[in-house]
């Protein structure tokens, strides 16, 4: 029954997408892959609208799907037959490749049908999807930066998930691989190079990276399918000049962005291509407008909820409380290099070693051979598209970010290889051998994301899926623990991205938002003593009446400025904080009140590396006598340089002190308890701590000091309830 629901969810989604594609294209293009991929863009857009309207219900999806299918009159399509009729002729080599395709797709199908255990699929791709279904649409999510990415694929997942849950979503992604491979074959046939198309498709389809990605609830293969479909549609339009294709081209290009931010190049490619070929503003405007229709919802959603249309990136252009600039820089910096010492290591790492999160297959070391295709116009078009869709690659050098340009490279390779008799077949067969899961297992390090053979009993859910989860999803026991030990509606804080697609609880992962990072710092300072506010920076100046004070930071460097408490004194007595005080800070003004709340565990943090122009300011709302300002904070802010200014009532600012006197303060007592209470105040109910985390020992041994209660343990994790 479960398998039936999964298959129904996937097939109904693909059928609805195909129907919408048919409605958009009419008779302009009859190929299923084009109609499916284009219709997926339309379906994704419609599901977005339903989610934005709070109408995410299986019944609403059923009505939408049935209406689209009926309106597209598929019986007419069946009567008309397929769009391309000159299929590759049966021959020994074609049959051999067909068998190889079948075997690999069977492996992929079993994996997609099995319980979803992919790293990102089981966390944010389907975690957010499940949340949208539970909540019947979008709600503001500021605690998870992944909710701010464009989620065009998640909208398709949502449609499938409503009927078939997790595995249905993975199967929908697999449908994009079928569409891509099919489309590559059609491209070869159209250009009288059927063998090139088939070999190129085989190089892509058998790649371990492509296989594991396509059979998971990811979006990279979908983007590759969009890229290649767009390429074909533009070619089709350029040959036939069919104006009806222009809106479809725009929708497809916009869908590229909606699928994944890196797909923005699809919009540039489509607009550039149409402008170059047509030189007509109207044609370009149609493409741009249709693309914008699919891009705009994601921009608007982020603008409304995250104050940044391009969240979680470009935070220096759109400052917001949810993602800090220093985090963005660190995040991007890691993905630009992973753990490589040099970019020259990328080819080997991505094709053989698997140290970039997967392996494309050793045969792709031969990709430079494809440059021979540059001699032909078609080859040049393929390489241009490969360059465009690979343009973002160096912003994240993960192997799966090479999937979108891969079809173009593979076809160029096939063009070159087919010039030598038997060579293309030999390379494809070698590829099939080297990409076999057991062989890949010997090539790549343990932990690298790769395909394994899925027992059919697991695939068809004939065995307890819990066993499968535990074998393939290391952190699944922690999720089971959370489901078992916490009431619905609970919020759990953790330092590991657990598979939250399998829990309805709100999971806060330490790095996934600025607020989570603050909670993490509060916890870590209490547990392991990092950033304890034991430093004192004391500005002393002749007593005088002031209307406001301002602490300026004047240095540049990599430190991030932080203040736990800012206190102002007169004759040894602290000025009581008053409601009339106006607190401001630049940058990151949103948490400045945390430096004036008398809590040592909370803090204001600049959220970006220090530079001149940063300040914290207190306007008293009247004249106050003062002679000392003390900043309490971490002792290791060696790079900051501070000066103090005062406003004397005439609007003029005067320097009160050039530099502070540095000293240590007494450590705060009850810091752990205060940290736990502050986390609770911030909406966190539980902390999930893993044995291999350095802070786990402290909370385990000092539960009384924290005031927490251990409510359960599983899989190396202990769940603590906050006081």
């Amino acid at each position: 029954m479960q398998v039936a629901a999964i298959l129904f969810g996937a097939v109904f989604t693909v059928a609805t997408a195909t129907a919408l594609g048919t409605l958009l294209l009419g008779k302009a293009c009859g190929d299923w892959p084009v109609r499916f991929v284009l219709g997926s863009g339309a379906l994704s857009f419609l599901v977005f609208l339903l989610a934005a309207s709070g109408l995410v219900y299986p019944a609403a999806f059923a009505i939408l799907g049935v209406a689209a299918i009926v309106a597209s009159q598929p019986w007419n399509r069946w009567r008309d037959g397929p769009g391309v009729r000159c299929w590759p002729k049966p021959s020994a080599r074609n049959i051999l490749l067909f068998v190889i395709f079948l075997v690999y797709f069977y492996i992929y199908f079993l994996r997609a049908l099995a319980p979803e255990v992919s790293p990102d699929g089981a966390t944010y791709h389907l975690g957010l999807t499940a949340r949208y279904l539970r909540e019947h649409g979008f709600h503001t999510i500021t605690w998870n930066l992944y909710a701010s990415l464009s989620q065009g694929m998640e909208m398709l997942f949502l449609f499938a998930f409503a009927f078939g849950r997790h595995s249905a979503a993975a199967l929908v992604h697999l449908a994009f691989l079928v569409a891509l491979v099919w489309q590559m074959g059609i491209w070869g046939v159209r250009h009288g190079m059927a063998w090139v198309g088939v070999c190129g498709a085989a190089l892509v389809a058998l790649s371990p990276m492509v296989g594991v990605d396509a059979s998971s609830a990811y979006n990279d293969v979908a983007l590759a399918a969009v890229a290649f479909t767009l390429f074909c549609l533009l070619e089709h339009w350029a040959e036939e000049g069919t104006a009806r294709l222009l809106p479809a081209i725009g929708v497809l290009a916009g869908f590229g962005y909606a699928l994944k931010y890196t797909g923005w190049v699809a919009v540039a490619y489509a607009i550039g291509f149409v402008a170059w070929k047509s030189r007509r503003a109207r044609a370009v405007a149609v493409v741009a407008a249709c693309a914008f229709l699919l891009v705009a919802p994601w921009l608007v959603k982020n603008w409304m909820w995250m104050h940044n249309p391009l969240a979680p990136f470009f935070n220096s252009y759109f400052p917001n409380p949810y993602v800090t600039i220093d985090f963005e820089e660190d995040y991007k910096s890691y993905f630009r290099m992973y753990d490589l010492a040099s970019r020259w290591q990328i080819p080997l790492a991505a094709t053989v070693r698997g140290t970039l999160g997967g392996v494309l297959g050793p045969v792709f070391m031969l990709a430079p051979l494809g440059l021979a295709a540059l001699r032909k116009p078609l080859g040049r078009q393929l390489w241009l598209a490969a360059l465009v869709f690979g343009a973002n690659y160096f912003s994240n050098i993960g192997a799966r970010f090479l999937i979108p340009p891969l079809p173009f490279v593979a076809l160029a390779m096939a063009m070159a290889l087919t010039t030598l008799p038997g060579m293309a077949l030999a390379v494809v067969v070698l590829h099939a051998v080297l990409c076999w899961p057991a062989v890949v297992g010997k090539l790549v390090p343990a932990g690298s994301w790769r395909l394994t053979l899925t027992p059919w009993r697991d695939a068809f859910h004939l065995r307890d899926p819990g066993r499968y989860y535990k074998n393939h999803l290391a952190l699944y026991p922690a999720v089971e623990l959370i489901e078992r030990a916490t009431p619905p509606g609970s919020t759990v804080f953790t330092f590991k991205a657990i598979p939250d697609a399998y829990t309805s609880r709100r999971i806060l992962v330490d790095y996934e938002s600025a607020a989570n990072q603050v909670a993490a710092r509060i916890f870590q300072s209490a547990a392991i003593g990092t950033d304890l506010p034991n430093g004192r920076l004391r500005f002393a100046f002749p007593s005088r009446k002031l209307r406001a004070i301002r602490v300026n930071q004047t240095a540049s460097g990599t430190d991030v400025w932080s203040i736990n408490e800012l206190r102002i004194f007169s004759s040894g007595h602290e000025l009581p904080r008053e409601a009339a005080w106006r607190l401001t800070a630049h940058p990151y003004p949103w948490s400045i009140q945390d430096a004036f709340d008398n809590s040592p565990v909370t803090f204001w943090r600049s959220g970006e590396a220090i530079h001149p122009g940063m300040f914290v300011q207190v306007d008293f709302g009247g004249m106050r006598q003062a002679d000392q300002v003390v900043l309490e904070g971490p002792t290791d802010q060696y790079g900051i340089r501070l000066e103090l200014e005062g406003e004397t009532g005439d609007g003029m600012w005067q320097r009160l002190a050039d530099r502070p006197m540095v000293s240590d303060g007494a450590p705060y007592l009850g810091f752990r308890r205060a940290a736990a209470e502050e986390m609770k105040r911030r909406g966190i109910d539980y902390i999930l701590s893993f044995q291999d985390e350095v802070w786990s020992e402290d909370i385990r041994r000092n539960r009384d000091l924290w005031g927490v209660t251990a409510v359960g343990a599983a899989g190396g994790a202990t769940l603590y309830r906050l006081p």
Partner: protein, 128 residues
């Protein structure tokens, strides 16, 4: 002791002027600390018996009184820096109130101007 507000923790028995990050004690140094309601606090201090004074006093026995009750008695047989830490019985503390800690050396050395010098205190207080 480098905390400019360190004087707030001193009841008596110390040199008036701070030497910076440390202070000389006299015969009966007494400190005071506000202690919140926190279980399992430890009393901690960093102290030094300089060679010059140790040459006069020889081994020193330090009696530590917590809120007037004898909490510990420690014998220091060598000069130099020492770290002392011991968990305090919860029932001996006054939570959410000021608590006094008296540090009484059994011997002191003669300093300039006739003052009696016990030891040098760098850091003292309760920690979790």
């Amino acid at each position: 002791m480098s905390d400019p507000s360190a004087s707030a923790y001193i009841v008596g028995g110390f040199r008036d002027q701070s030497e910076g990050a440390w202070r000389w004690t006299h015969e009966h140094p007494v400190l005071q600390f506000y202690v919140p309601r926190v279980p399992r606090l430890r009393f901690l201090m960093d102290l030094t018996f300089p060679d010059q004074t140790f040459a006069q006093t020889g081994p020193v026995e330090l009696t530590i009184r917590l809120n007037g009750r004898e909490f510990d008695r420690v014998r220091y047989v060598k000069p130099g820096s020492q770290e002392y830490t011991k968990e305090t019985p919860w029932e001996w503390l006054h939570p959410d109130a000021v608590n006094t800690v008296a540090l009484e050396p059994d011997k002191t050395a003669a300093g300039p101007d006739g003052e009696r010098l016990g030891f040098v205190l760098t850091r003292a207080g309760f920690v979790e």
